[in-house]
């Protein structure tokens, strides 16, 4: 997208948010059993958002830069729809497939909205998710030849829309990590659903000799999926920062104490300014790392770690300050602020915490 198209897209999203995600609406979506609104999810598809994933040529993924406004809009308005099952990790994994026909089929399943895929990589107690205990063995049994997968995966998001799961496992034949596709209705797959800190729906997955398709080798796919997930989560975080900063500024402008608006107090002004600065820094960082990703720039993995640390910290800072600046209202369910705070906690936990990223930076200076 060129600058004009991008700007137009942002305006469309802003209008959509005003119409669909106002103060009276967003909290209702969360009370639905799916944890999100199927109508909204269908609308995103109808608006053509999924078409953003269609590559210009077969060999390259559509640019990440085009997705940043979508994720920012999602962050700001607290969308509950399972974007990741279409836009994030699955795209990166599919790009690694050697068979072009299979690659096209899976990608088409995402773009058409017919086959969203969950990303099941993380295992219990392993936030960084580098160690994989799940294993895949090749069965030659007469009842059905092919791969069988066994193990446990933790906190897979968006499970209710998924028709299948991309699962990292050790390929026992060659003792290397690989990524497998398991059908959501596969025998031997059990889901335990629960609410997550951000009021979403997540699930732990147990595989017991579940039939699986081996898609590709693991290391590169997992790294690419992680980078993609981190960058898009950072874009969502930007939206939260924008919303939290705007709400806090508006609140301080309206709320009067001691005979003047709270925004008149310099101590509070400077705290808001710090929040604005962190937002601006993250905007620059997200754009630069997304661009590096699209151009497969050298040192990308290090840039992703830097992004991971900085955005998580800035987001925590801003949402924490937003709660504080809203006073008692900040800890109620009545305002977006409390939801922002909890979504921020969730985002930090999705791709290994910022602490782990900082440790990775320290270990390989």
């Amino acid at each position: 997208m060129d600058d004009d198209a991008l700007h137009l897209f942002e305006e469309t999203l802003a209008r959509y948010n005003r119409e669909r995600y106002d103060a009276g609406q967003w909290s209702d979506y969360g009370r639905l059993p799916q944890g999100h609104s199927p109508e909204r999810w269908a609308e995103l598809q109808a608006m053509g958002c999924f078409e953003l994933l269609r590559p210009e040529d077969d060999d390259r993924a559509a640019p990440m830069a085009d997705l940043l406004p979508l994720y920012a809009a999602a962050g700001e308005a607290l969308w509950r729809e399972p974007l990741a099952t279409v836009f994030a990790e699955p795209i990166a994994v599919i790009a690694q497939l050697a068979d072009p026909a299979r690659r096209r089929a899976l990608l088409e399943g995402l773009i058409s909205g017919e086959r969203p895929l969950g990303y099941a990589h993380r295992e219990t107690g392993d936030g960084a998710a580098d160690a994989i205990a799940t294993t895949a063995t090749k069965s030659t049994a007469a009842s059905g030849a092919g791969w069988r997968l066994s193990g446990d995966k933790a906190m897979v998001v968006g499970v209710d829309v998924c028709t299948g799961f991309l699962v990292s496992a050790i390929d026992a034949e060659r003792d290397v990590p690989a990524v497998f596709l398991v059908d959501a209705a596969a025998p031997g797959l059990q889901l335990q659903r629960y609410r997550s800190i951000d009021d979403g729906i997540a699930a732990d997955l147990r595989f017991d000799q579940a039939p699986a398709e081996r898609l590709c080798d693991g290391a590169a796919a997992i790294a690419a999926a992680n980078a993609r997930g981190v960058i898009l989560a950072a874009a969502e975080a930007l939206g939260i920062m924008r919303g939290a900063n705007r709400d806090s500024t508006d609140y301080l402008r309206e709320r009067r104490q001691f005979g003047q608006p709270l925004l008149g107090f310099q101590a509070l002004q400077h705290r808001l300014v710090e929040m604005l600065m962190r937002q601006r820094e993250c905007e620059a960082l997200v754009a630069s790392v997304a661009e590096a990703f699209d151009h497969a720039a050298p040192m990308l993995s290090r840039q992703v770690l830097v992004l991971r640390v900085e955005v998580a910290r800035a987001l925590r800072h801003i949402t924490r300050e937003a709660v504080q600046l809203h006073g008692g209202m900040g800890v109620t369910q009545a305002l977006r602020i409390g939801r922002y705070y909890r979504r921020a906690l969730m985002l930090d936990s999705l791709h290994g915490t910022a602490d782990l990223a900082l440790e990775a930076l320290s270990e390989h200076p």
């Binding site: 600065m277 630069s288 840039q303 830097v306 900082l358 320290s362």
Partner: protein
Amino acid sequence: MFGESATAAQAGPAFSEPESSAVQRAAVAAGFDAARFRAELRAFCRQQVPADIRARMRQHQYFTRGQRIRWQQLLQSRGWFVGHWPKAHGGQGWGPLQRFIFVEELERAGTPWLTHFGTSFLGPVLCAFGNDAQRARFLGPIRDSTEWWCQGFSEPGSGSDLASLKLRAERSGGHYRVNGQKTWTTMAQWADWIFCLVRTQAGGKPQQGISFLLIDLKSPGVTVRPIETFDGGQHVNEVFFDDVEVPVGQLVGQEGDGWTIAKFIVGRERLLVTEIGKAWHLLGVLQSIAAGRREGPRRVSDSAAFRRRAAELEVQYHCLRATAYAAVLEAEAGREHPVDASLLKIRGSELQQAIHDAITDLLARDGLAFQIEGLGGDLEGYRHGDPRLPGLLHEHLHSRAASIYGGSNEIQRGIIAKTALHV
């Protein structure tokens, strides 16, 4: 990945930080090749720095007036010192991006800071506001570094509240009579000329009635008195004016244009205050000190505590650099984000101070000798600790001023509150 000039220049990979494609595209649009320009600057800094200057760079010593002038003249031999001036006035017409890359590379190499009062401030002011006679008289000596300029803005009662300044200039015939005082005047002890904000009219809004006057420091009635700073250096001064006669031809623009010109100056250099290249250089210094020290059986650079601290600084550095380049690209496109200018000032100074804290904490393990006589040359007699100790401690102390001068960080936060929050 960070490198000190000496080792990094040989090692190469320390410079492998990739040029973003957005920067490459903007450079092409501006008519230059970013990678080639950087390579040219790096080669120049590697090969062309005179030995005596390089020796001082290595030890972080203070450069003499003569050394600074020689370095500036060397840069101008390539047309770089005033590269950012319009072509019509002897420059190369660089835009903000090329200028930024130029300064970043010089800072990375640790070369002497370019005194910007003439080249970055007055030169562009004369191009934009001056008359032909003033340009003909003053631009050449700035370009050639044959006249040294300093800046007379702050006064004892007018620091953050600059518009309250009182230095009086009263018109009588073909002259102004100037009476009063400037302070915190950087390098006035070395300067030939000073450009001053003066009050030519009392009453009305404080911003009105301020004018921009060029004053020869050799004029009768001018006294320059040094202010001792806690870093042991002498770089700031008080400048007194006692009935100093200044020809009216040395007024730039019209009477009352002073505030506009002052804002023009602040706007010009708002991106370069980040000093992102200097931060990169200092991170290299930090790494090299850690690698050269032992803590029991292992190198300090292998300790988890040090590495974590270095990683934190690296995150801060990359975040600031991304922001700085985003701001430069905005400026290159003729736009300005309401938060950028003050943000770069605040974060640039915070990062520099944080790196100096880390460096000093390493040096402190041997005890902090302050042999300040080692700042301007080699120590005679006994030297305690790292040969860079005097220079690095001086730079640490001096870095505390980075969040104070040029509008303190509190003032910068106030500016953001005004422009972005509309308070």
